[in-house]
């Protein structure tokens, strides 16, 4: 059974259709990324799945339960990583993680979790003194302390420097390797490409494309562009058979500045949301 199954999900705010008929399937153990520009309906969709927001219509099933009717036992199987919280500022990392562990029937060991998110050296520091990246690691620690089967990450690395992002990705991969299902929203394409097994692009409240990062939007089958410097300047040929084209061209001698490119995930994405 899938961890998440959504059919025909719709939600409007004051006449504005935020989510306009979304279908979604996320398998157990999968890392699934929802991509989309601001205002595409990502956060609304995720909040409905978390049981924090009502819906106008559609079927939603998260870990076998309709989130609108989720009870405490269901909640204890979810982990929600917050985006911009500054709570528990005067508690130390260890105190906060230990405190949240108490909410769950079968939590992870707090010390192990602190180690896992890389905050062992900061265990005695107050949450309010942590850097932005460290604070988000604490948020992850609090999100996974209950041994969740499914973790929601809403734009987890917004505002991170490149190094902090790489470290954060490592942490997500660790969780995924343990079999945790992860639903991630992001507007960073490299993040989706680095982490996700599958990607959906949300635009205007609808899913406009879905697939692996490698095949999204027909990327794998798209024509390649062969480009080189000729007597007339840069020359390009779009072709489905780049090897053949290069073989033909190279019979006339060396091709200066030869490149073969396919549309990047970014090219595909920008086309999809345009």
């Amino acid at each position: 059974m899938n961890a998440i199954r959504v059919r025909g999900l719709r939600k409007a705010y004051k006449g504005h259709q935020a989510v306009a008929g979304v279908d979604l399937d996320v398998a157990r153990g999968e890392v699934f990324a929802v991509l989309g520009p601001n205002g595409a309906g990502k956060t609304t969709t995720v909040e409905i799945l978390e049981g924090h927001r009502g819906r106008d219509s559609g079927e939603v099933n998260v870990l076998g339960v309709d989130p609108a009717e989720g009870n405490r036992a269901w909640r204890s199987r979810l982990g929600i990583v917050l985006q911009s919280a500054t709570d528990a500022a005067t508690l130390t990392v260890r105190e906060a993680v230990r405190h949240y562990a108490r909410y769950y029937g079968n939590p992870r060991d707090p010390e192990e979790v602190i180690e896992l998110v890389g905050l062992a050296e900061k265990a005695k520091s107050r949450a309010g003194t942590l850097s932005g990246g460290q604070r988000r690691r604490l948020d992850v620690a609090l999100g996974i302390i209950g041994r969740p089967e499914l973790v929601f990450l809403d734009e987890p690395t917004t505002g991170f420097d490149p190094e902090a992002r790489r470290q954060f990705w490592g942490l997500i991969r660790l969780l995924a390797a343990e079999g945790t299902t992860i639903l991630l929203t992001t507007h960073y394409l490299d993040e989706a490409e680095a982490l996700a097994d599958r990607v959906a692009v949300l635009a205007g409240g609808r899913i406009v494309a879905e697939g692996t990062p490698q095949t999204l939007g027909g990327r794998a089958h798209a024509d390649a562009t062969v480009r080189w410097m000729s007597d007339r300047g840069y020359t390009e040929i779009k072709t489905s058979e780049p090897t053949k084209v290069i073989a033909e061209l190279s019979r006339h001698g060396e091709l200066a500045e030869l490149t073969v490119t396919r549309p990047s995930l970014e090219d595909v994405y920008l086309e999809l949301i345009a």
Partner: protein, 269 residues
């Protein structure tokens, strides 16, 4: 791939409420502004105003009693209301909502916080009153019993109203206005700074609709040197039964208001 087992029995509501209370207290006492403004302010006011107004033992007793009443309402009504708004602002409530912790546990934690901080504030005030104004503590078990239930009902009813009103405020900055204004006005209408007996009828009635007057009156009955001082009350007696009735009614009204108006987040849904 490890087998995932998060489905064990979730801990009890009361147990989690106590855990919340411990965490709340830890956070409260680590914030210096709480110690200065919430816990010490009534004692400082007692010192300042008492020096001006209190020239005899009986007046000291009455003034200390009223200040304890005003103090616990400051920690419960104002302090708790602001702390709930702060929890909404900094993400505490959003995070808790995503955990299996029941809402009741959150509220038990808040009541513990208010109860303990009010007690600290009341003890500090009594120590100041005893040292500086020779105020005497109640001497009979009966008086302490009255002190206990007035304290408890006062804290609970004002906490609930504070939380209910906190739903109006969008930020801690606006909360401080929303909560402090009625509190300050009520202090004048409820016999804290000036005796209710000297107020015009309309203002006295207005003050009598709210818990502060009854909490203060209850405490005055406990601290009065003898029961003859009841003649100074607006009704000429301590009205203990009516105190219990009014505070009980506010507790129920507060419960209804909280369950109807409580918001987890500032976002529209």
């Amino acid at each position: 791939m490890t087998t995932v087992t998060s489905e064990a029995a979730v801990p009890g509501t009361l147990e989690l409420g106590l855990a919340r209370g411990a965490a709340e207290l830890r956070e409260f006492f680590r914030q210096k502004e709480n110690l200065i403004f919430t816990v010490s302010l009534p004692a400082i006011l007692m010192l300042l105003l008492g020096t001006v107004y209190v020239h005899e033992a009986a007046a000291g007793q009455m003034f200390a009693a009223s200040m304890i009443g005003a103090g616990i309402i400051s920690t419960s009504f104002v302090g708790l209301g602001i702390s709930v708004v702060a929890d909404r602002e900094d993400g505490t409530l959003k995070r808790l909502r995503g955990t299996p912790m029941p809402f009741t546990s959150y509220f038990i934690g808040k009541i513990i916080l208010v109860f303990v901080s009010s007690l600290f504030e009341a003890v500090l005030l009594m120590v100041v009153a005893m040292l500086r104004f020779d105020v005497e503590l109640p001497s009979t078990a009966e008086k302490w019993f009255t002190f206990g239930w007035v304290f408890l009902l006062g804290v609970i009813s004002c906490s609930l109203i504070g939380v209910a009103l906190s739903s109006i405020a969008q930020s801690t900055r606006s909360a401080s206005g929303v909560l402090n204004l009625p509190y300050i006005v009520l202090q004048f209408l409820s016999g804290v700074f000036i005796s209710q007996a000297v107020l015009p009828e309309s203002l006295r009635v207005a003050g009598s609709l709210f818990p502060l007057k009854w909490v203060c009156q209850g405490f005055r009955s406990v601290f009065a040197l003898n029961d003859g001082y009841a003649v100074m009350e607006a009704a000429g007696s301590w009205e203990l039964g009516r105190i219990a009735l009014v505070l009980g009614a506010w507790t129920i009204a507060g419960l209804v208001l909280v369950t109807r108006t409580f918001r987890w987040t500032n976002e529209a849904s």
